[in-house]
Amino acid sequence: MPLLRIDDINLSFGGVKAINGVSINVEKGSIHAIIGPNGAGKTSIFNCISSVYKPQRGAVYFEDRKVTGMKPDQVTHLGIARTFQNIALFHHMTVLDNLMLGRHQFMKRGILAGGIFLGPARTEEIENRKAVEDIIDFLEIEKIRKKPVGTLAYGLRKRVELGRALALKPKLLLLDEPMAGMNLEEKEDMARFIIDINEEWGVTILLIEHDLGVVMDISHRVSVLDFGVKISEGTPAEVANDPHVIKAYIGEDDDFLRDMEAR
């Protein structure tokens, strides 16, 4: 049984078909990548998984429970966390507060206990602080923990956003272009974090990424989208040699395709 089952979803905005009958199975414990040219519908799939969009047909199942139709915060409670293509951190809050917010669903104290603070709320704050500090250590962001996120550099913000998603202790982590706009060194760091999260923390990862080198290196399985349709799926090696994929990325070239078929 796959951890996440995207079952034949269709999503259109007015006349534009963003996703057209896409099915993807994400196996537990894997790193699964979704690639495709701009506007292929990758982020729309993420938005369908976290229930920001509701597909007109088909549904998403997580651990055999139907996610489609739930509210976004309920989906999170099932164990799905995500990061965003254009960083969506809480800019006026500190790194620490951003990560502590990720612990929201594990904390139970309401306004009364919170307002009195001494006692249960304080204990809860400290317990969750410890969990958050583990993530801060893992991501090597100790120095900036008290800084407001709005003052940080882009690469660090990406890292903080990953940390916030990890604070949710997810079973499935959705990463939307975690390496966009990063230099080589930052990309290597991020790739290392992703592999560690997958192998050591046992988190299943579904990622969207444009850097094909990284995708081919770290992922176990790759799905390729083009114009809202899944055109290929398989191991990185299989996908890289699929003529449909090459056509989608490089464009149509009869000679080239004939060469491919002759091989």
């Binding site: 809480f90 006026h92 929201h104 669903q105 919170g114 009195i116 709320a121 949710l168």
Partner: protein, 348 residues
């Protein structure tokens, strides 16, 4: 001052509100000043102090809604009224005591605020501000027309509270009562904003879509924020009613709502300290101007008419200057001053 820095080795230490000896000393000095204040001044000045304390409660409440949750409300004045009328009705018509009336005022106002906060689920920013403006006008209309409860345009005469035969009749004794309530409510607000609920509010303010995907129920927390903010307004309104000994609908007009919005903007959005500074500033400034005008009139009798006419203009001008040069509020300026002196003379 910390010449080598300020080191905290446990999480318990790290989440204390007053983290350094200097800050602890400062707060203790402020509280001591507030305690001896009624013996330093009398008459009108004590009355100003009382008004500031009440305004602090209201401003802190509004800042939780507007500064922390990011929802502009133009109805705070009317919510003051709900609190004032609730306690007035309960103490005079139902014969209950002040000690029941004030908490009840808070709860009734919180309920009213939650109802009028429902549009916030759909509306944001300026559109929400207009929706809350509607609550202001609806409530004002109710204050005037629901005569059996509110006394209509005549208003209600409210008694001062008493406990075990002792009546808080003098302004001085009532001041101490209000001071105690204000300190407790400010502390409560400080704790709310640094724990789970407060973080959820700030997350909604900064990026509500992302907040929802992080597992925050937007409906619940938006309404909760309205509830807490209105609770503060209700208690402040009730105390205002008991201090004036009279409740009438004109006190709770749109002007009051705008004044509170001005307080938190001048003081600093999203800061409890800012709300306190804003309340002090907005209540104190007109009084200071009045005193100055009187002094000026005595000095140059010919300028009397002009000086009095200028008073309101100068008030507006000072506020505009503050917004231009201090857009992040007094709380931010205070932070900068502290940061400068913390490492003096090696600041960089």
């Amino acid at each position: 001052m910390h010449f080598c820095g300020d080191f905290r080795t446990t999480y318990e230490k790290d989440i204390e509100i007053l983290q350094t000896p200097t800050v602890r000393l400062g707060v203790a000095a402020c509280l001591a000043f507030l305690v001896v204040f009624p013996y330093l001044v009398k008459g009108e000045y004590l009355w100003v102090g009382l008004q500031i304390l009440i305004a602090v409660i209201g401003a802190v409440g509004l800042n939780i809604l507007t500064g922390y949750t990011g929802m502009i409300s133009l109805g705070q004045g009317a919510f003051f009224g709900v609190g004032a009328y609730t306690t007035a009705y309960m103490t005079t018509k139902l014969g209950l005591s002040f000690w029941v009336g004030v908490p009840a005022a808070g709860l009734v106002t919180a309920a009213a605020g939650m109802v009028f906060g429902i549009p916030s689920l759909r509306l944001k920013g300026l559109y929400l501000a207009i929706a809350t403006l509607a609550s202001q006008f609806i409530l004002e209309w109710v204050f005037l027309r629901w005569e059996p409860v509110t006394g209509g345009s005549f208003g209600i005469v409210v008694p001062r509270p008493s406990i075990g035969g002792y009546v808080f009749e003098s302004d001085r004794s009532f001041y101490y009562l209000v001071l105690a309530i204000t300190v407790v409510m400010v502390l409560f607000a400080v704790n709310i904003v640094r724990t789970r609920t407060g973080r959820a509010f700030m997350a909604i303010r900064d990026h509500y879509i992302s907040a929802e995907i992080m597992g925050i129920n937007l409906f619940r927390y938006r309404i909760l924020s309205f509830g807490i903010s209105s609770f503060y307004a209700g208690v402040a309104g009730a105390l205002l009613g008991h201090s004036l000994k009279f409740v009438t609908s004109e006190q709770f007009n749109i002007e009051l709502s705008v004044a509170y919005l001005a307080m938190i903007i001048i003081g600093g959005l999203g800061s409890i300290l800012g709300a306190i500074y804003g309340a002090i500033f907005m209540i104190l400034l007109p009084k200071v101007l009045t005193v100055l005008t009187t002094k000026l009139t005595m000095l140059i009798p010919g300028a009397a008419g002009l000086a009095i006419a200028m008073e309101q203009g100068v008030f507006g001008l000072i506020i505009i200057f503050f917004l231009i040069f201090e857009p992040d509020g007094l709380a931010h300026r205070w932070k900068m001053i502290k940061a400068y002196w913390k490492l003096y003379p090696f600041s960089y």
